[in-house]
Each structure stands twice: as C-alpha cells, then as structure tokens.
C-alpha cells in the first residue's frame, strides 16, 4: 500500500495565498472526492501537488510513502507515481499522441528496457477501444484541435497507459456530455483497485453517480472544511453548500475571505 500525505499545505500564486493549510491523507485502494464551489482552491491543490510552475508552496509538506514530493522536479513526481489529469491540457504541435505516450512510458524504464513497439501499439489500441476513441487520435498531434471531450478522454487514456499510484483528476467532468462522462468514469473505475488511489476534484455530484468515492471532502476558503463518506456528496447535491456555510459561520466561501 502507498500513501500520499498532505500536511498543512499553504500555496500562493503571484504572492497571493490561495491554500491556507490543507490536510489530507490518501491511500491506494481509496477514492477521495474534493467538492466545493468555484474559487475555493480545489484546482490549486491539484496543481501544487504536481508542481505547476506558477504555484509557490509557502509552507507545509506533501509526502508520498515518506518521500518529500515538493523537493522533486515535475517529472520525478510523475515517476514516483503521481498523475494529474488536467483541466486544461496543453496542445503540442508536431508531437503525435502515440509518440508522446511512448516517450512517457519509456521515461519510466531503464535504458535498454524500453517498451517494444508491438506491445505498445497493442496496449494503446485496446485502451483506446475501451475509451471509445477514434483510432486516428493516436496519430494526431497531442491535444491539438481536440474537442473538450476528446481532451478529457485523452487524459484518461494517459492515465490508463501510465498506471500511476495516485491520480488527481482536476474537473475531469467539466464540459462533458453524459455519454462522455460515462466513458471517462468507466476508465477510472477500471483503474480502481489495490495499487491505485485517486483524488477527484469536482463541483458536481453528477460524476460521483458513476464513481462512488470512499471519502468526500469539502473545500472552502483554501482549506478542507468538512469530510465524510459518500452520503456527504448526496447531501450536497440535495441541499447545496449553504448549510455548511451556516454551520461553520462562513459568509463568502471563496479564497481571500476569512471566517
């Protein structure tokens, strides 16, 4: 079993503090959902864990099986077992999806141990079929001209090909129609199991109808303000966030406001 431990994490962007002490522990074989209205710091948490160049960790720690993640370069974090399905994946001209994925897989392997082309193609084909993706997507330039839905599927394709220990999914459901949402969920559920943990960031309960989380957390004002089981997500869906704000005496839940 692997464990990702986030302790008292403070993160700033352009000198402005967004995360104000996030605590969270995720084990493999667990799926956590982070919910919360817009502007409460959810995506910042995802980006800071992965090492986005614009986000500055001002204090706190992130450890993966006792290793200091924040000391690692972005690629080292990935190789240590972290994966972030991004809300806005970059488009990269001239680099095909297939070449990119093969580079990413081989980056994890020692020299001389590279994945054989045949094996790679077999795996890619089967995963693309599973995600109901057009075969020509493999030879298209990475995310270039992809529709919103295609980009999200492509993130899940990468997830399935790279088999990380922990996947953070940053609003993977935004902009997806119901069919695409089902496919994306199918991919994540396929990953579910002993060696895999996930942190799903969303502000809709909808996704959680397809992926049942083990734990649900609510973020407001740059902190986790409430945690519970799957029933918490259902309550949020039925009643919204106001009852939490009332309970905690929060007037404006966005970052920058103090309780």
């Amino acid at each position: 079993m692997s464990t990702l431990v986030i302790k008292d994490l403070h993160v700033a962007i352009d000198g402005k503090e967004i995360l104000k002490g996030v605590n969270l522990t995720i084990n493999t074989n667990e799926i956590h959902a982070i919910m919360g209205p817009n502007g409460t710091g959810k995506s910042t948490l995802a980006s800071a864990i992965m090492g986005h160049p614009k986000y500055e960790v001002t204090s706190g720690s992130v450890e993966l099986d006792g290793e200091d993640v924040l000391e690692m370069e972005v690629d080292e974090r990935a190789k240590a077992g972290l994966f972030l399905a991004m809300q806005y994946p970059s488009e990269i001209t001239g680099v095909t999806n297939a070449d990119f994925l093969r580079s990413a897989i081989n980056a994890r392997r020692a020299e001389g141990e590279e994945i054989s082309l045949m094996k790679f193609i077999r795996e890619l084909d089967s995963k693309m079929e599973f995600l109901e993706m057009d075969v020509d997507m493999a030879q298209r330039y990475l995310n270039e001209g992809f529709s919103g839905g295609e980009k999200k599927r492509n993130e899940i394709l990468q997830l399935m090909m790279l088999q990380p220990k922990f996947a953070i999914l940053d609003e993977i459901d935004s902009g997806l129609d119901i069919d695409a949402l089902k496919v994306v969920s199918k991919g994540i559920n396929e990953m579910r199991g002993e060696g895999f943990g996930s942190l799903i960031i969303t502000h809709y309960q909808r996704l959680l109808n397809y992926i049942t989380p083990d734990h649900v957390h609510v973020m407001m004002q740059g902190r986790v303000v409430k945690s519970g089981g799957p029933e918490l997500a259902q309550k949020l869906e039925a009643q919204g966030y106001d009852w939490i704000k009332e309970e905690l005496g929060i007037e404006d839940e966005t970052v920058g406001q103090e309780a």
């Binding site: 370069e73 994946p89 001239g94 680099v95 990119f100 994890r108 330039y141």
Partner: protein, 435 residues
C-alpha cells in the same frame, strides 16, 4: 568602420587560376571583370542585420588540394550516412575544392543529361554554361559578394536535364569540407529544359569543428516551360566560416520549382533565396527549416517575385534559436504589375529556447496589381512553460520535453518537405543540434 575588403589575390592570380583550369576565355574575362568591379560595388544590405563588420573577404588560401575518391566505399562514415539510396547512381562529391567523385547512370547519359563538376562543364559544354551562368539568375555585379563569387569561383556542379527527360531518382551532390583552411566559392548551375523533371539534393557538410575560410555559395536553378525541379539542401557548415549563400530560381511558363532548405550551419550566415516566377502559371514553393545555436548570427531572406500571370508562391519557414543565437527571417512576396490572378502566401515562425536567443520574423507583401490574393502569418515566441510542465507531468524529463517541443515545432515544415532523403537527414541533424 568597415572591414578591409582588399583581396590578397591579384588579377594575375585569377588569370592563371582560370587558365590553369583550361576555362574558356569568356569565363576568364568574366572573372577578371568581376574582380575589377569588386572595389566599387556595394555590399548587400540584408534587412535588419548589420554586416558592415562581417569579414567576407579574408581567407587563408584560395584553393586546397584534396585526394579524390575512387569509390563510394572510401567515403568517411559521416558522408556515407548522407548517401541515402545504397545504389545511388547519380552523385557528385566535391572534397573541399577538388572534384572527388562523379557518377551518372548510363541511361541518363544516353538521354543527354549532363552532370559534371563546373570546370569540366566549362571546358566541355562552354556554350551551354555561358548561356545560363550568372545571366537570368544571379548577376555578377549585383553586389560585392556576387562579384567576389564570380571572380574566385573554385568549385561547383553543372546539371542539365534535356527536353522531355524525367529523372526519377534524386540527383545528389555532396560538398564535403574536411580541411580547415579551405574556402568554398561553389556554384551550382541547374538547368531543367522544357517538360523535364528532376529532384536535386545538395549537402554541405563540414567534418572539421572550426574553420577559418569563406563560404560564398551560389546556386542557380533555371526551370524552363512545363519543367519541374525539386531542389533540396541540408547545409551543415562549421563555425568560423562567414557564409553567404544565394540560391535563386527562375521559372518559365507552367514550371514548378520546389525548394526544401535545411539551414543547419554553425557559421554566421547570410542566406538569400529568391524565386522569380516569370512564366505565366508557374509556381514557386519554399520550405525552410533553421536551427541556430551558440553565438551564431543569421539572416534568412526568402523572396518570391511574381511576374507572370496566375503564378503561385508560397513560403513556409520555421526556425529554432538556442543559446545566444539570433536570426532574422525576412519573407517577401512581391507581385508585379500585370501578374493578375497570382497568389502570394507566407508563414514564418521562430521559437526561442533561451533568454539570450533572439529571433525576428518580418513578413512583407509588396503588391502592384489589384487582381491577386496574398496572405501572411508570422510569430516569434519562447517555449511555453506550461507545455513543458504538461509533458513533464507525465514523467518526461525537461530535456526530453524540450526536444519534443522543438521537433514538434519544426515538424509542420519537415513533414512537408518533398524529398524523403532530405527529411530523414534533416531530422538527424536537428536531433544532433538540439541535443
């Protein structure tokens, strides 16, 4: 302050060099006239690059002697790697200033194709060479560097494809530079007569790391009625040269000229590539890829001039600047009065990889005719840190991520190159240069 441009070579030196090669008297006279005009002619003025302090005239020696090759087997490995087809039948290799190997298939010889070093051509095909040598393409007295070239010409090749002859396999020329005292005043003259077709590839390859000479190179490509020429280059000249390279094409009616230019020099370089679309309904397409590194300064002027009606001109160039390299990309589409229904398109893009790298893209359209279409796109930018972040977030190292972005940036041009061999060579050179 300008650099001293007085030559160490005298009129007598030029005359004896020319006579020593048994050149026809018109060529000797042409050289001497050029030499005489040298002092009064102005330097070229590449837009946005100041070259007054560049040294184009000093070099250790005019010609060096090199051994020829008796078979392709003797070629150094780096050169062998360039000879793509194993049974490359049509190949000329020049080693520094020495014609070192030539081969032309019996079939093409029988069809009247001429493929020979420039000295042999001057001796054996004097009239034909005289008709095209620095007449319709580059003029001797255009500026100081063209005159210098004519006066000092010390190598090159002549390719003549007769009427109705279509050459299927690429014709290849390798200019090997393996002596650091050598200077290259090479002239490629390619004439494709009516209804003919040829794919020509020229490689400039330095196998010495640093050099002290001059590279003053002119290639003229004459494409007659309804002929098609695909002209590919991969230039890899060493640091230390001052490179002036002028590649010029002239198209007649219904002719097509495609340029595929891989500019991979490590030297300071002024490159001028001009295509005159003279005949109605002719086409000129330029695709150029550049990688600059070190402290290299380069200027790439690409110009397509539309004279004929219904002419089609296209310029597509992408460049990557590393380290402290700087490059100016001038793209000029000029449509002359009367060239109705013509179309001038261009796209220039420069990607800078470091803080100290510099790039500039200047798209220019000069249009003297109403009934035409034209368009341009240009961009200069740095590597997007979010692209690198995205790639790295999948476990790809920063270095490998940069490599992917660079190849990706150049791919839209490289993939469009019309010659497979050039595409492959270029990909390998790019790989070495961005490593």
């Amino acid at each position: 302050m300008t650099v001293e441009t007085k030559l160490a070579l005298t009129e007598q030196d030029i005359r004896s060099f020319s006579e020593g090669n048994q050149e026809p008297s018109w060529m000797t006279e042409l050289r001497l006239k050029a030499l005489g005009e040298l002092e009064t002619l102005p330097m070229p003025t590449p837009d946005k690059t100041k070259i007054t302090n560049w040294n184009f005239t000093e070099f250790p020696t005019h010609t060096v002697e090199s051994n020829a090759y008796t078979s392709l087997e003797e070629l150094p490995e780096e050169v062998k790697a360039l000879v793509h087809a194993e049974e490359q039948k049509n190949i000329y290799i020049q080693r520094n200033n020495t014609p070192a190997f030539v081969s032309l298939s019996a079939d093409l010889q029988a069809k009247g194709v001429i493929f020979t070093d420039i000295y042999t051509a001057l001796r054996e095909h004097s009239d034909l060479v005289q008709k095209y040598f620095m007449t319709d393409g580059v003029k001797v007295n255009e500026h100081k560097l063209t005159a210098l070239h004519a006066a000092l010409l010390n190598g090159g090749v002549f390719v003549y494809v007769p009427k109705n002859v279509v050459i299927e396999e690429p014709v290849q020329v390798i200019y090997l530079h393996d002596n650091d005292s050598a200077s290259l005043f090479n002239h490629t003259l390619l004439v494709a007569d009516e209804n003919s077709a040829v794919t020509y590839v020229e490689n400039y390859l330095s196998t010495v790391e640093k050099t002290t000479g001059q590279a003053n190179i002119i290639s003229e490509v004459i494409v007659k009625d309804n002929a098609k020429v695909t002209f590919g280059t991969v230039d890899v000249l060493a640091e230390g040269f001052t490179t002036y390279v002028n590649r010029r094409g002239v198209t007649s009616r219904d002719a097509v000229l495609e340029w595929a230019l891989g500019m991979m020099n490590d030297s300071d370089t002024i490159s001028e590539n001009v295509t005159h679309l003279v005949g109605d309904n002719s086409e000129g397409h330029v695709k150029m890829v550049v990688v600059g590194r070190g402290k290299q300064k380069q200027n790439f002027t690409t110009k397509v001039i539309h004279w004929g009606k219904h002419t089609e001109g296209q310029i597509l160039k992408h460049g990557v600047m590393k380290d402290e390299a700087s490059s100016i990309f001038n793209g000029i589409g000029k449509i002359e009065f009367g060239a109705t229904k013509s179309n001038a398109e261009q796209e220039s893009r420069v990607l800078m990889l470091s803080e100290k790298a510099r790039g500039d893209a200047n798209p220019i359209l000069l249009i003297d005719e109403d009934d035409v279409t034209a368009g341009h796109a240009a961009s200069v930018g740095r590597v997007d840190p979010l692209q690198l972040y995205y790639l790295m977030s999948r476990g790809i190292s920063k270095h490998e991520a940069e490599r992917l972005v660079i190849h990706g940036f150049l791919a839209p041009v490289v993939n469009e190159l019309p010659i497979e061999g050039v595409k492959k060579q270029l990909t390998e050179v790019i790989e070495r240069k961005v490593r």
